[in-house]
Symmetry: C2
Subunit: 339 residues, 2 copies
């Protein structure tokens, strides 16, 4: 094992002070060109590596940010993280990942441990079970910038990057109406999360605009699993009045719904149009490709990163709260296109 080389090792070798070495390495303007070259050469030869830990301790900046998500291996979240990483890397930041498993206690714990790891910022998408925002305030108290993406709570001083879920719900529903559907069922996610409320609100608004009434029984709560979509359809199709469209807040339930509808011999999209949400990879590849709403996750991550960078570059006491709302993109495919 090679011993770690420090600026003191370099300073001894070239007979200059460690301060000079430090400055030369950081390209300090008041160090002569000649000295800089000597130092750099020595550093290279000795295979010097700056210890970012020491630098971090000194400067108070760890150049690490934390990202908290329910699960990292969900297409949407991992794509957002990808965006964050790509945007932040050129600025010297590293991304630390934390999973909550959709559990509030884990979320609180993750914030706590991140906080004493001295991260410079936190990106997070809250878990389904998160009700209060105590833990968020802790981060704010310590002056750690926090950016919500996708799933957020309203907390003063916290920026967020989301898609316009209301609009997404509206557009998706309107699209179904335009296809001639009049009895549109909605498979809705947990209303504890804003995103699902908004999608639902958009669904309602589209009906209103087009003078259609919603049968309250057509709104079914689901949990993003295929099985949930299957049972939702079973339940819906037991009713006297049957839907002629399904707008699901999740692609997985949309898939389950489609499977069940096919099983029951219902023709898609002729008899029933189906739309999902999230533009999961599989939606495109199905034999009956599923219409969905693209949330542009990589972009979302990149913009969240930009919001963070903007925030830390601003003055210390300046509390900017930036709310970025991205426009969702409808991906219309065979499951909803009667054309």
């Amino acid at each position: 094992m090679k011993e770690k080389v420090t600026i003191y090792d370099i300073s001894r070798k070239i007979k200059m002070s460690a301060a000079t070495v430090s400055r030369a390495l950081n390209d300090h303007p008041k160090i002569s060109q000649k000295t800089k070259e000597i130092v750099r050469k020595a550093a290279r030869e000795m295979n010097y590596k700056q210890n970012r830990l020491a630098q971090a301790l000194k400067s108070g900046q760890s150049k690490n940010v934390g990202v908290i998500v329910p699960y990292i291996n969900r297409s949407f979240f991992s794509s957002v993280i990808r965006g964050i990483e790509e945007e932040l890397k050129p600025n010297g930041y590293h991304v630390i990942i934390c999973q909550t498993h959709e559990n509030y206690e884990n979320e609180v714990e993750q914030i706590d441990t991140l906080l004493n790891t001295q991260i410079d910022g936190i990106f997070m998408s809250i878990s389904k079970t998160t009700k209060d925002t105590e833990h968020i305030r802790k981060a704010l108290d310590e002056n750690v910038p926090l950016v919500f993406f996708d799933r957020k709570k309203e907390v003063p001083g916290v920026s967020s990057v989301v898609i316009d879920d209301y609009k997404a719900g509206f557009l998706a529903t309107e699209h179904l109406i335009e296809q001639g559907c009049k009895r549109i069922a909605h498979l809705s996610g947990d209303l504890n999360l804003d995103i699902y409320c908004e999608r639902y609100n958009g669904y309602v608004a589209a009906h209103k605009k087009h003078g259609l009434k919603i049968n309250p029984k057509f709104v079914v709560k689901i949990n993003s699993k295929i099985e949930s979509g299957i049972s939702a359809v079973k339940k819906l199709w037991k009713m006297d009045e049957k839907p002629d469209a399904v707008f699901s807040a999740s692609d997985y339930t949309a898939l389950g719904a489609i499977q069940q509808l096919k099983k029951m011999g219902v023709k898609i999209p002729e008899e029933v149009c189906v739309m999902g949400f999230s533009n999961e990879i599989f939606t495109k590849y199905m034999e009956l490709p599923i219409s969905s709403v693209d949330q542009t996750p990589v972009t979302m991550g990149k913009i969240a990163a930009q919001v963070f960078l903007e925030k830390i570059s601003g003055s210390e006491n300046l509390k900017i709260e930036k709310k970025v709302v991205l426009t969702p993109k409808l991906q219309l495919r065979d499951s909803s296109l009667r054309s």
Copy 2:
């Protein structure tokens, strides 16, 4: 902004030395129970948080590990990372993620920056374009334990966790043979990566065992994209002798192959059986579910983490090189089941 509370703040408040505070907080055996309680109470009241940066600098352990993958938002990789995170978190480690974009230069750079971030270990899956292992040796030189997962290179002293790709290729091919297929095409990935070599070798071995000959033209190089599968099939079906099975080293090309075969009116699995690789989420959900090989990525991540933990718990100079080989699981579905 609340000021950061240090052990000195606590020591001032309770009129004890910082050393005592530190010891009490770390549950040092020689500190009296009474003192410990006083200290802990004060710490709680003052909302003290240990600064892990300082601790890291002092101890030389950052309690951070780096994970280097081509892209974080690929189902396989994000699942491995999930496994690593879940296994390491109880031990107080955080996971820093790095993407190479399948680019060798990025890979080298990522290792470099991780190294001076003072991580305690590196997990990596090499990129397709990685030919040499200079950068790996750098990590070893600095005595940073490195664990390969899935895509590895042979480097003395480096542990690895992979699946038995040879066996996977063998079993998949044998399964196709058992279905009565005799002219099995293989869509093979970049042979620069061991995993693809092994899958190919297994494919060859299965033929040998069953006394079948391979038409060399049946082995087509692909790049894991759907389009690649489509063009491979087009090319294969231009030949006089046509395959009666396709074993693809990637699920995406298997999907492309299936799409193209259907387009050409070829019946699956009656005329042609198809197998993919990776057990991507979509394979299960297709109308014609695609047979594939499950690499148990979350498990792979967990075991890689265990190998790391084992390594650092061992004596300093002990260079253990552990090679874990997981058993792949065939997921047989309609695309290859004639029964």
